[in-house]
């Protein structure tokens, strides 16, 4: 599961402390006792470079590059199994998400399907105050180019048809949440705050 150690790695002895102090949930990360309950509970642990336990140890070892380029941050499905089970009450999911944001902000990650999907998700959310499956999928499919968008759309068309039949997707205008405008204002404000005060490692 673990990738072979790269020939050269960058180490930053201040990284652990920075994560403890700046990443959401990081304040409890210092209490991690490496029991491995998170990795053991993770339903998609096998699809990650390394489980959360090992990722946290890498943080302690100062392996900043390896941590921020790890796909663990992106493959987390946020099922919260680890958070519920952690004997030290560490918010594993929040930390992974927080690290993903750092990875994007610092330019460690530019091209990442999960990142594009997240962007599509947020655009839909910003527009209507809630997600609309068609808009999210369309935005996500075409985010990797026109040709790829059409190909993916055609490929997944049967699924869409079955969903419509089952009443899981509708054909009318997207529903709009009450107070979508207020939500947009909140999100804008949050983005502004983050831009102004967001700390950098």
């Amino acid at each position: 599961m673990s990738a072979a150690a790269p020939a050269k790695r960058n180490y930053d002895l201040g990284f652990a402390r920075w994560v403890y102090q700046n990443v959401e949930g990081g304040d409890r990360l210092s209490l991690c006792m490496q029991c491995g309950m998170c990795s053991g509970s993770c339903p998609i642990g096998a699809k990650m470079d390394q489980g959360p336990r090992k990722l946290f140890m890498m943080i302690r070892a100062g392996m900043k590059d390896a941590v921020l380029t790890s796909d663990t941050l992106w493959n987390c499905t946020q099922c919260y199994n680890c958070v519920v089970r952690c004997p030290r009450q560490i918010k594993v999911t929040n930390i992974l998400q927080g690290l993903a944001r750092v990875a994007v902000a610092e330019g460690y990650v530019t091209e990442r399907p999960t990142a594009r999907f997240a962007k599509a998700f947020w655009r839909s959310l910003r527009m209507f105050g809630r997600t609309d499956e068609r808009i999210v999928t369309a935005l996500f499919y075409f985010s990797s180019g026109l040709k790829a968008g059409i190909d993916l759309g055609l490929k997944n068309l049967p699924i869409a048809q079955r969903m419509i039949k089952a009443g899981r997707m509708h054909l009318g205008l997207p529903h709009r949440a009450k107070g979508a405008a207020e939500l947009r204002a909140i999100l804008d404000k949050a983005a502004a705050i983050e831009k102004g005060e967001g700390a950098k490692p």
Binding site: A16, S30, M57, M58, A61, G62
Partner: protein, 753 residues
């Protein structure tokens, strides 16, 4: 005073059912002609006790043989003013372990009664020795937290204290600490160093006389009458003290030996104590360029738990590093502090402290340190990532060096803090003399170890000036059962001289040692023995007229209690003696005996047992069982109603060390088919209550083969067993197996001769 014996037979607890009392009465009155024999069904009840008390009051008896339960129980009930009590164990070892009403059971009961009556005949009530006046003052050596606490506690208990400190100020190592580990709830933050309060308390105590700058240059005498010589700047004074508490503490392991951890390669590789000095001064700076140390790594187990250095865990370094790391983090929130450990040991409340450090963002890394470069790059083998990590950019590397006990005085000899391991041969200084006069078996075992440093007390004992130590240099004591006891009576160790421990533990330890010292003084004043035969008044008397000056007693005494005159005669030091009888077992001419315990008594008891003829097919095996563990284990088997072989006869002995080989040859020549010796575990991890007794016995018994050979007997007939108190369930099988071996070699040809 004429001995007026009386025999009291108890029929309770199933004894009468197992073996009719009438038969036993006949043994007493007909066979031994004891004029006074009484039976009762409940002897330890008020009515039964009154029976005995009335006889004593009427002057009918002054020695009561009580054939009832084990001598280990009901001691308070069967204790009478004006009469010596001898017990025969008919309950645990007969009624409860053997078939009811069987012929063999009755024979066993009769034999136990015979042995008890014989023992009574050979025994007199011991008188306390009186050699006063005794000093009731406690001398405490060492003025650190342990010594100060011991002095204060002894003074508060009402005893005068002489506190001797070699340095120029009180406080010891604690004085150099910026803060101390938490010792009060919630155990989560470094606490103020409060040694100053303790120093003031001791200085203000009227009962404590403080001698700064003094060393003990000579110690003679024994508990209650130690004469110590104190020296300072060439002048000496002599003092009398009753007991001694040694609290000479520790020194750090020599970091110059830690080159593999980078010590010496860079000025920024420092020890815990170096960092402590920086923390105390308030500025933690790099030594190389004076820049503040922002990124610091602690390397744990620097020297400790390393067979090439200190083989043991120094126990405090984890706590110390956690404390220092917390102090660094508190002083500078922007600092990054790493603790590199293989195993972090935080027992008890220290776990809270550990968690507090985690919460404070100290980074703990489980790893093995591979190398420390001159540029302070620490390369670690991370145990949880399973890869090698170069930690570059550190400002300071702190080696958590271990504790070395000050079991010798290195400063007195100008050796400074050099590290002799081991300081003294742990098995010194007792080469055990073989019984038949051969060369000691242990002589070839180890080359003499060069002793570095002066002896702490310079004991004027036959067995050398040093306090015996264990393999790792700590003072010899039994870690679990009797921690403060040393092998020199009346001298108690505490603090890191005994085992690695922190300040709070040392203070607690010192309290214990102070109380032991007081206990020693009280017992000595009353003429009683100390641990483990506390309260025993008997004392070895040596008949010097027949002494051959072989010196075995002076060599083998585990406590150095016997000195020698210039002519080579033994001089017992009454107050040093623990009454184990090892000298008695050592003496080839049987001139050492106690009033109520002697080779003659044991031999007579052995011979008192009736040995059936060979054709009766009733073998007899003698069990000599140590009173401390083996005998209670045998009793326990009885309490559990285990079926025990009916052909054994058990005699309790004070210690296997007190068993003379003459007892074994007496047993075999009087027709016993075999002898089982049951004692405590010998060796480095001994359980012997007299430290060396069981190992001396084993060495003596290793040579018993020659005695057997000269009698043309098989060597299988005598065997030594190590029994712990919890081994009662193993005993029936052990005895049966031995018995099977005896049956294989056949009956003893000496039967009936």
């Amino acid at each position: 005073m004429d001995k007026k014996q009386g025999v009291y037979l108890c029929g309770g607890c199933g004894i009468a059912a197992a073996s009719p009392l009438d038969g036993l009465e006949k043994v007493a009155t007909k066979e031994f002609k004891v004029p006074h024999c009484r039976k009762h069904d409940f002897l330890c009840g008020e009515e039964g006790l009154k029976l005995i008390r009335d006889d004593i009051a009427a002057g009918t008896i002054n020695q009561a043989v009580i054939a009832a339960c084990s001598p280990r129980v009901n001691q308070d009930r069967f204790r009478f003013e004006g009469a010596q009590v001898i017990r025969a164990n008919l309950r645990e070892q007969v009624a409860w372990t053997q078939e009811q009403g069987a012929e063999d059971t009755a024979m066993a009961a009769a034999d136990y009664l015979r042995m008890a009556i014989t023992e009574a005949k050979k025994s007199a009530p011991p008188r306390a020795y009186e050699e006063g006046p005794y000093s009731e003052r406690v001398m405490v050596v060492g003025g650190g937290i342990a010594g100060l606490t011991a002095a204060r506690e002894a003074a508060r208990a009402g005893y005068d204290v002489l506190l001797v400190e070699a340095g120029t100020a009180l406080g010891g190592r604690m004085r150099d600490l910026s803060k101390r580990m938490p010792h009060k709830p919630p155990y989560a933050a470094p606490q103020e160093n409060d040694i100053g309060t303790l120093i003031k308390a001791v200085e203000g105590e009227k009962r404590i006389a403080i001698r700064l700058g003094h060393r003990v240059t000579r110690t003679a005498g024994g508990p209650g009458k130690f004469t110590v010589e104190l020296a300072a700047n060439g002048t000496t004074v002599e003092e009398k003290v009753g007991a001694i508490v040694l609290a000479t503490g520790w020194r750090p392991y020599d970091p110059n030996k830690l080159g593999h951890l980078g010590y010496g390669a860079s000025p920024d590789v420092v020890t815990s104590l170096d960092l402590e000095a920086m923390l105390k001064s308030g500025a933690v700076k790099r030594r190389s360029n004076g820049a503040p140390a922002k990124t610091v790594a602690f390397i744990q187990c620097a020297g400790s738990r390393d067979p090439a250095h200190l083989p043991y865990c120094s126990s405090v370094c984890c706590g110390v590093s956690i404390r220092q790391a917390l102090q660094l983090r508190a002083a500078d929130p922007e600092s990054s502090v790493y603790v590199l450990y293989d195993e972090l040991r935080t027992p008890g409340t220290a776990e809270e402290f550990y968690r507090a450090a985690q919460r404070a963002g100290v980074v703990f890394v489980k790893c093995k340190v591979k190398s420390v470069g001159a540029d302070l790059t620490v390369t670690i083998d991370d145990a949880l990532l399973r890869e090698e990590i170069p930690m570059a950019g550190l400002d300071l590397v702190v080696l958590a060096t271990g504790m070395v006990p000050n079991s010798t005085d290195l400063f007195a000899t100008g050796e400074g803090e050099v590290m002799p391991v081991p300081d003294i041969d742990p098995l010194s200084p007792i080469p055990v003399a073989g019984y038949a006069g051969e060369k000691p078996a242990t002589a070839a075992k180890a080359a003499p170890v060069e002793v570095k440093g002066a002896p702490l007390l310079n004991l004027q004992y036959r067995q050398g000036p040093h306090l015996p130590i264990l393999a790792d240099g700590f003072a010899d004591s039994h870690f679990i059962c009797f921690p403060y006891e040393t092998r020199r009576t009346g001298i108690y160790t505490c603090g890191p001289l005994r085992r690695p421990m922190d300040g709070a533990e040392s203070a607690e330890d010192a309290t214990g040692a102070a109380l032991k010292a007081i206990q020693a003084i009280r017992n000595v004043v009353e003429g009683r023995a100390l641990h483990p035969r506390s309260g025993d008044l008997s004392f070895p008397r040596i008949n010097l007229n027949n002494c051959t000056k072989c010196r075995r007693c002076t060599v083998e005494c585990p406590f150095g209690a016997i000195d020698e005159t210039a002519e080579g005669f033994p001089i017992p030091n009454s107050t040093r003696c623990r009454r184990c009888g090892t000298c008695m077992g050592a003496c080839p001419v049987r001139v050492i005996s106690f009033e109520n315990y002697s080779v003659d008594m044991l031999s007579s008891m052995i011979k008192a047992v009736e040995i059936p003829d060979e054709d009766e097919e009733k073998p007899r095996v003698l069990i000599l069982a140590c009173q401390n563990d083996a005998y209670p284990a045998l009793d326990m088997a009885g309490i559990n109603r285990a079926k025990m072989n009916t052909f054994v006869r058990v005699i309790p002995v004070r210690c296997l060390g007190s068993v003379s080989v003459l007892c074994i040859s007496d047993a075999l020549s009087s027709g016993y088919d075999g002898v089982m010796m049951m004692g405590c575990k010998a060796g480095d991890d001994y359980q012997c209550h007299f430290v060396r007794g069981s190992s001396i016995a084993q060495e003596r018994m290793a040579k018993v083969g020659e005695t057997l050979k000269s009698m043309a007997l098989e060597k299988e007939r005598v065997a030594t067993f190590e029994i712990a108190i919890a081994d009662s369930h193993k005993l029936p099988k052990m005895i049966d197996d031995f018995m099977a071996g005896i049956e294989a070699v056949g009956p003893n040809p000496f039967k009936g001769m």
